[in-house]
């Protein structure tokens, strides 16, 4: 019997990340699993509370390795060491987490829900969402860019123009060029000697005749060219309008929140700057901050038009449609004072005119279906391409609804042609 010691070598250790390939493959599998369950995942509470580091923990059902195993009911044995266990005593909860089997043999011997959390950044998640939307990249660029006039900028030179744009230096240069070109030919020797430097040429021509005037000609004049400076801007604002009346309970707000969050993420990924505006309304509307928007409950009736008017007002003041891409979304439980319906409809029409997209989400629980008023019916009259109304019953509906809404986004006709 002999023994060999192989000492530790740091450089070997660096090269020895042998599981890298298998880890990558596993990650890919997780990604696929994420993609499959994306609708469930985005409805999870955890991703809505975005932390500063923007990393969220997403519970996924692990990629399980199945084999024939015994069910949970089978008795097991454990040692307590001190013997202080009595018959019938409850020693814990059946967690059913996928416990790896003892021993070096492959695989576990006990079933379990292989549930674990994985860290995903919001951006990764949004990427996955896009993959789920199945928008090819080409199409994703088809956002409505707004052209903003920044005055004019210089772009090259031209032969005609107004006096103030005259470029004296270039004009003089072109005159000299013309003079050299049209001047008297030198002797044959001069040509043979090759091109003569300009300053010598000038001397020689001066020696030929100083009194020979060579005036500026119209052809010599060079003007700076100025073109209008139009830059595409991509600013977007998401206007979140929510009914905060008494009938909106916690669950409904939560669904609304999921919806707004996703909409915001979607818009944010496509524009350089994205802003958020929160409008809360019952019979009156006001602009609030995010926290208040989602947390505060109020009571009272509902006048949807008040919310729309407020949104229109804010848009008019701060987010002019010629400079901003506007996405407005309204979540409500569909109850409205019937006297307000016409007004709400008109306001909605106006919103459609200024927005890229105006969505209306009606959050209902099944019990309320019958006999409840529905704004969706009212909005059916609305005549706008970029309006979309959806019904959200449950968390699983959030993502499909958003998908449906986003498919309606208005695309400028010429850009559509270009795309």
């Amino acid at each position: 019997m002999s023994a060999v010691f192989r000492p530790y070598s740091a450089s070997d250790a660096l090269r020895s990340d042998r599981s890298a390939g298998d880890r990558l493959r596993h990650r890919e599998k997780i990604r696929d699993a994420l993609k499959e369950n994306i609708a469930e995942i985005v409805a999870e509470e955890s991703i809505l509370t975005r932390g500063s580091d923007r990393i969220v923990k997403v519970p996924i059902r692990g990629i399980k390795e199945y084999r024939f195993v015994f069910g949970e009911g089978s008795p097991r044995v454990a040692s307590s060491g001190d013997g202080e266990v009595q018959k019938g005593q409850v020693i814990g909860q059946d967690q059913q987490d996928g416990q790896a089997g003892n021993g070096p043999g492959p695989g576990g011997d006990r079933p379990g829900v292989d549930y674990y959390e994985t860290d995903v950044t919001i951006d990764e998640l949004v990427d996955l969402l896009f993959e789920d939307l199945q928008l090819p990249d080409m199409e994703r660029k088809k956002l409505r860019e707004i052209e903003v006039d920044h005055g004019t900028k210089r772009l090259g030179y031209r032969r005609s123009g107004i006096r103030v744009h005259l470029d004296k230096k270039r004009t003089l240069k072109s005159k000299i060029r013309r003079k050299v070109a049209t001047g008297p030919r030198d002797t044959a020797g001069g040509i043979a000697a090759g091109p003569v430097p300009t300053h010598l040429k000038g001397q020689s021509s001066a020696s030929v005749g100083d009194d020979q005037r060579f005036p500026f000609h119209k052809e010599d004049l060079r003007y700076r060219r100025r073109v209008p400076d139009v830059r595409p801007e991509s600013n977007a604002v998401v206007v979140c309008i929510m009914d905060t009346s008494g009938s909106m309970d916690v669950m409904k707000k939560y669904l609304a929140r999921s919806f707004f969050f996703l909409l915001y993420q979607f818009v944010r990924s496509r524009y350089q700057t994205t802003e958020l505006v929160f409008v809360a309304h019952h019979t009156q509307a006001r602009e609030v901050d995010e926290e208040e928007f989602f947390s505060k409950g109020e009571s009272g009736g509902t006048m949807i038009s008040s919310g729309y008017r407020k949104a229109l007002e804010i848009i008019q003041d701060r987010y002019h449609p010629s400079l901003w891409n506007i996405y407005a979304f309204h979540c409500s439980d569909g109850e409205n004072f019937s006297s307000d319906n016409t007004e709400a409809c008109n306001a909605a029409q106006e919103l459609c005119d200024v927005c890229n997209l105006f969505g209306y989400g009606e959050i209902k629980s099944e019990a309320e279906y019958f006999g409840a008023t529905s704004m969706r019916k009212v909005f059916e009259r609305l005549d706008a391409e970029n309006f979309h109304a959806v019904v959200i019953d449950d968390r699983e509906d959030v993502w499909p609804s958003l998908k449906a809404v986003l498919s309606k986004e208005r695309v400028d006709p010429e850009q559509e042609g270009a795309g």
Binding site: M1, D22, F68, R76, S79, G83
Partner: protein
């Protein structure tokens, strides 16, 4: 204060330990120690310690899981990792203290001795373990890189094969009969037994044995059976099935002797450490570490703890038997160590515990049986108030391969349409239906024809089918 040490210090200690190992009568393969950092250790763990192993995503998963647990402090790393090969290969973590390294080296030699001498390991071909793992890895990589095969075909096949890898013969010492032997046995079995009173008895009718049946006798090696009887598999697919089968055959002895083996190594590292005349600081640290290793784990069996207790008890019974024991079993014919060395050659966990886990030991270990009832784990049997034999039987059914259901191939042409009939030998424990469903899907994937599994659920006969329409329960 922590002592600094060099590889040369370890070699010096190793020298002393080996003297003790030989003095105690342990006989080992040559030993190699590889000093590694924790990332390498995690890497080695993911691949069962093998220096070369074929790639599969499950090992990446296992690595991620281990490293997450480790980085969050939820689990430490094992002090030692030793593989059954000749020469044996063990990893030592460079961050460990000198005391831990000495402890680990002593522990490793005892494992090495166990690998070399235990009957269960007789068929693992220790001399060629590392080269054959390497050869398998090369083959799998070659299939993955082959443009006509590729990882996208290799991976699902490995997934399916892994699902069935433990459905194989569990005891390599029981020789599998060849086709001819099975046939001869079937023919012999059909002959009526010799009857001394055949003159007065009615002549028994001779029943022709059905020799066309495949398999003649139920076959436990599902992967090999599919490899040999599924005509549509290509060569590389057959090879992958062989690879997975061979690998699980290699690991089965370790599963089968987990408690014995860890107990044996813990017993000997304690003996060696106690005899080494260690400096005081190292000795004190050793006592702390040793006690950590043999702590009972809440709600589970710690093989170091249980194994050590049983070995200690065997030694006590043979060296200093109580009067009661002498009265019951007579005076022991061997010394404690002689008995221990004999057992380490012949036994495996199931036989070891059945023979030597006594009622007193059960009480001392505080063994109890528990069961999941409506989401809670409820104690159903304790040594003090209940039947300790029930507890022992339950324990025996959870060690090694006894924790896995026995499923055999019954008929490859069930219903005369190429359906594969599997039977589960129900022993009171139900199959996990969800897992069974997915596992059947894997059998179907490999067999390519419908698969039927006969099992029972709480006493009711059940037949589960998997075919192109998916899983269903047949009536």
């Amino acid at each position: 204060m922590e002592r600094m040490y060099q590889t040369s210090d370890l070699e010096a200690w190793d020298e002393k330990i080996r003297e003790k190992v030989e003095a105690f009568g342990l006989t080992c393969y040559d030993q190699e120690f590889e000093i590694c950092d924790h990332t390498q250790m995690l890497g080695a763990m993911a691949y069962h310690g093998m220096p070369a192993h074929y790639p599969h995503w499950s090992y990446g998963k296992s690595f991620e899981r281990q490293s997450t647990l480790y980085n969050h402090g939820a689990a430490g790393l094992p002090y030692e990792m030793v593989i059954n090969a000749s020469p044996s290969l063990a990893y030592l973590m460079s961050q460990n203290s000198l005391c831990l390294q000495i402890l680990t080296i002593a522990h490793v030699y005892a494992h090495n001795d166990f690998f070399r001498n235990n009957a269960t390991f007789k068929y693992t071909k220790a001399g060629s373990v590392i080269p054959s793992f390497k050869a398998r890895a090369d083959r799998v990589r070659a299939y993955m890189e082959d443009p006509s095969i590729g990882i996208n075909r290799v991976e699902p096949l490995l997934d399916a094969a892994h699902a069935l890898s433990m459905q194989c013969s569990r005891n390599p010492a029981i020789r599998k009969l060849s086709q001819e032997e099975q046939r001869a046995r079937a023919v012999a079995g059909a002959e009526p037994p010799v009857d001394e009173y055949r003159k007065i008895h009615k002549r028994p009718e001779y029943v022709e044995p059905d020799l066309s049946r495949v398999p003649l006798e139920p076959d436990e090696d599902i992967l090999l059976f599919i490899r040999d009887h599924q005509p549509r598999l290509s060569d590389w697919e057959r090879d992958l099935l062989t690879i997975v089968h061979e690998e699980s055959q290699y690991f089965i002895p370790q599963m089968e002797t987990k408690i014995m083996n860890e107990g044996w190594a813990t017993y000997w590292h304690r003996e060696i450490m106690n005899s080494l005349d260690l400096p005081q600081d190292i000795y004190l640290e050793f006592l702390v570490r040793h006690n950590q290793v043999v702590q009972p784990i809440a709600g589970d069996i710690n093989p170091y703890h249980v194994g050590l207790k049983v070995w200690d008890d065997i030694k006590r019974r043979y060296d200093e038997p109580t009067d009661e024991e002498i009265a019951r079993h007579g005076k022991p014919a061997m010394t404690g160590h002689e008995m221990m060395f004999a057992l380490r050659e012949t036994d495996r966990d199931s036989s070891f515990l059945r023979r030597f886990l006594t009622e007193d030991l059960c009480g001392e270990l505080g063994l109890f049986e528990f069961q999941s009832q409506d989401g809670s784990l409820v104690v159903t049997e304790t040594t003090d108030e209940g039947d300790w034999k029930t507890i022992r039987e339950t324990l025996l059914r959870s060690v090694g391969t006894a924790s896995l259901p026995v499923i055999k191939v019954e008929d490859a042409d069930y219903d005369q349409n190429g359906t594969l009939l599997l039977t589960h030998a129900h022993d009171g424990r139900n199959l996990h239906p969800g897992y069974a469903e997915h596992s059947l899907a894997h059998v179907y994937q490999l067999w390519g024809r419908p698969v039927v599994l006969r099992t029972a659920h709480d006493g009711d006969e059940q037949t589960w089918c998997y075919d192109d329409e998916g899983f269903r329960e047949a009536d």
